[in-house]
């Protein structure tokens, strides 16, 4: 009873606080789209009038489209690598029952405890040592590393949510480890696989701190933005580009979030 009374008294003020918090979270970010339509070089009030000119400057810019192509290719390959690693590492961590698998699972989450700048310089030393140097391949390696903790966490929680009896039934009925993995466990986690892929693509696509050290002559989109920030004249263009990137990020992240929770009910219902 008293717990319920507590809910009613505390909820109202807390609700307002959460609303204010969301405003604080979103307002600075939403200024970017707002001023990207503003007919002025300055991002300042009062607004000067509506324009699409800054979006037009995005067309026919070879440096920009080159950076975009780089980001897309690197993002897809890095997402593929990070998802593959996330699936195998978390599966073996859960079902491999070997100290090695558990160790790999633990180290895979280590990048959370390493600041990006140190991940960047350690990989810079490494890629120079093995001879590939700063290049697109190096960026892919860096982004697999940055996205790995996310894919491991997403896949691990999904594999753990599948009832143990399903996997045991498959093994008991004579399916090999590989068949059990490929025909039972992987299909049951398909939405999470897609979600992990999309999230790691987003991480790579938006990543700046590590890529700063690993890029050769071909920059990614965040590096292109960084190079443009020095010129006050190109700030509106950056805001138009930023608006496009933010919109894409919201869509991809939203879809990934929906996928992550999808189909869990089916996996839980089946054994009954």
């Amino acid at each position: 009873m008293s717990a319920r009374a507590n809910t009613n008294t505390g909820g109202g003020w807390l609700g307002l606080y959460v609303l204010a918090y969301l405003v604080f979270l979103y307002l600075p970010v939403l200024l970017i789209p707002l001023f990207s339509f503003n007919n002025s070089i300055q991002a300042a009030f009062p607004l000067q009038g509506f324009t699409l000119d800054w979006y037009r400057t995005l067309y026919g810019n070879p440096a920009l489209s080159g950076a975009l192509a780089n980001s897309l290719v690197i993002g897809v390959i890095a997402a593929f690598g990070a998802t593959l690693c996330g699936i195998t590492v978390s599966y073996m961590d859960l079902y491999g029952r070997s100290p090695l698998a558990a160790t790999i699972g633990a180290i895979a989450r280590l990048p959370i405890l390493i600041p990006g700048v140190i991940v960047g310089i350690s990989l810079l030393i490494l890629v120079n040592l093995i001879g590939i140097g700063p290049s697109r391949v190096s960026i892919v390696l860096g982004h697999i590393l940055v996205a790995l903790p996310t894919t491991v966490v997403v896949m691990r929680s999904r594999f753990a949510a599948i009832p143990k009896t399903i996997r045991e039934a498959a093994l008991d009925l004579g399916a090999s480890d590989w068949t059990t993995f490929r025909r039972v466990m992987l299909p049951l986690s398909a939405p999470a696989v897609l979600s992990a892929f999309m999230l790691s693509f987003l991480i790579s696509f938006d990543e700046f701190i590590v890529v700063f050290f690993l890029a050769g002559t071909e920059p990614t989109l965040p590096l292109y933005i960084w190079s443009q920030l020095r010129f006050p004249r190109s700030l509106p263009t950056v805001m138009a580009l930023g608006t496009v990137i933010l919109t894409l990020s919201f869509i991809i992240a939203g879809t990934a979030e929906i996928l992550r929770h999808r189909g869990l009910g089916a996996a839980r219902r089946n054994p009954a």
Partner: protein
């Protein structure tokens, strides 16, 4: 606990571990093994090795020396910058965790049907570009930026002020905003896993809402609070983008120094030594958090 329960059920069958074929095991461990041992452990090992070498312009340096660490320890510049990084990261961590706690609390106990939507809304900014979030603050705080122009427009003051941009305070606000989504989830998970029966027991035994919060909810959520503090502290203490964008020269952080050693200053061994120092600081913080976690864990 769950695994021990199910292993009693399957005890009559051959254990699955005996049946894992070596080929399957190798194939499944290979990708993760390569990445973790080569890209993480070996690369970090290279940083440690380089930290004990002298700079001769070659990739892995020359000789075996502790000179880099002696310089770090004796030059007051590095003490100042390290201390500043710790203070800034500490303030950011405190600000993010304290402001995130009520949100996580609301999500866990009051959100009701709106919970999933709110969870989605607070985590969404996590997946947007960090660079753009920092850039947004640059246009907010600039001399002829959003905040100044809004204040002048509303007649609150006449002259734009330089006081916003290029200050350590700007770095703290920007970082606290950029890492805000990191803090909510761990605290929420900790709060959400507190058994409701525990809260009912507290109120049944006559605890007032505040007492039950202080003696039951808060101690039980401490693991989440510590995890949140850690995931905010680690990236902020090594950050170099925000100080460069909104911090100005008075906000140089240790990440800035590391970055310049691998760039303009071109002294990789010294940059590696600075990195090792940062990792040691983080190790201390992790151990502290572990210790605090255990203390709170044993009390409840």
């Amino acid at each position: 606990m769950g695994s021990s329960m199910s292993s009693t059920i399957v005890a009559t069958r051959p254990l699955p571990e005996n049946r894992i074929s070596p080929v399957f095991r190798l194939a499944m461990l290979l990708p993760g093994g390569l990445v973790t041992f080569f890209l993480i452990l070996f690369a970090l090992g290279l940083v440690v090795l380089l930290a004990f070498r002298g700079n001769d312009g070659s990739l892995l340096g020359v000789g075996l020396t502790a000179q880099n660490f002696i310089t770090v320890a004796t030059d007051p510049l590095y003490w100042t910058v390290t201390l500043r990084s710790l203070v800034i990261a500490g303030l950011v961590t405190l600000a993010t965790v304290v402001t995130a706690y009520p949100v996580a609390y609301y999500l866990a106990f009051h959100a009701g049907r709106r919970r999933n939507l709110l969870l989605f809304l607070v985590t969404l900014p996590f997946w947007t570009s960090y660079l753009l979030r920092v850039f947004a603050w640059k246009i907010v705080l600039a001399y002829n930026g959003v905040l100044n122009s809004a204040f002048i427009e509303s007649g609150l003051w006449k002259e734009p002020t330089l006081a916003f941009l290029n200050t350590p305070a700007a770095v703290v606000v920007t970082l606290a905003h950029a890492y805000a989504p990191f803090a909510i989830l761990p605290i929420y998970v900790a709060l959400d896993t507190i058994p409701k029966s525990l809260l009912e027991a507290a109120s049944d035994l006559g605890a007032r809402p505040f007492t039950s919060f202080r003696r039951v909810v808060l101690p039980n959520s401490m693991p989440g609070v510590l995890a949140a503090a850690l995931v905010v502290f680690v990236p902020t203490v090594g950050d170099y983008v925000t100080p460069a964008m909104v911090g100005g020269p008075a906000s140089t952080m240790i990440g800035t120094l590391i970055q310049s050693q691998f760039g303009k200053a071109n002294d990789w061994p010294f940059g590696a030594a600075l990195s090792v120092c940062v990792m040691l600081v983080i190790l201390c913080v992790v151990l502290l958090a572990r210790g605090a976690d255990r203390r709170f864990g044993s009390r409840t």
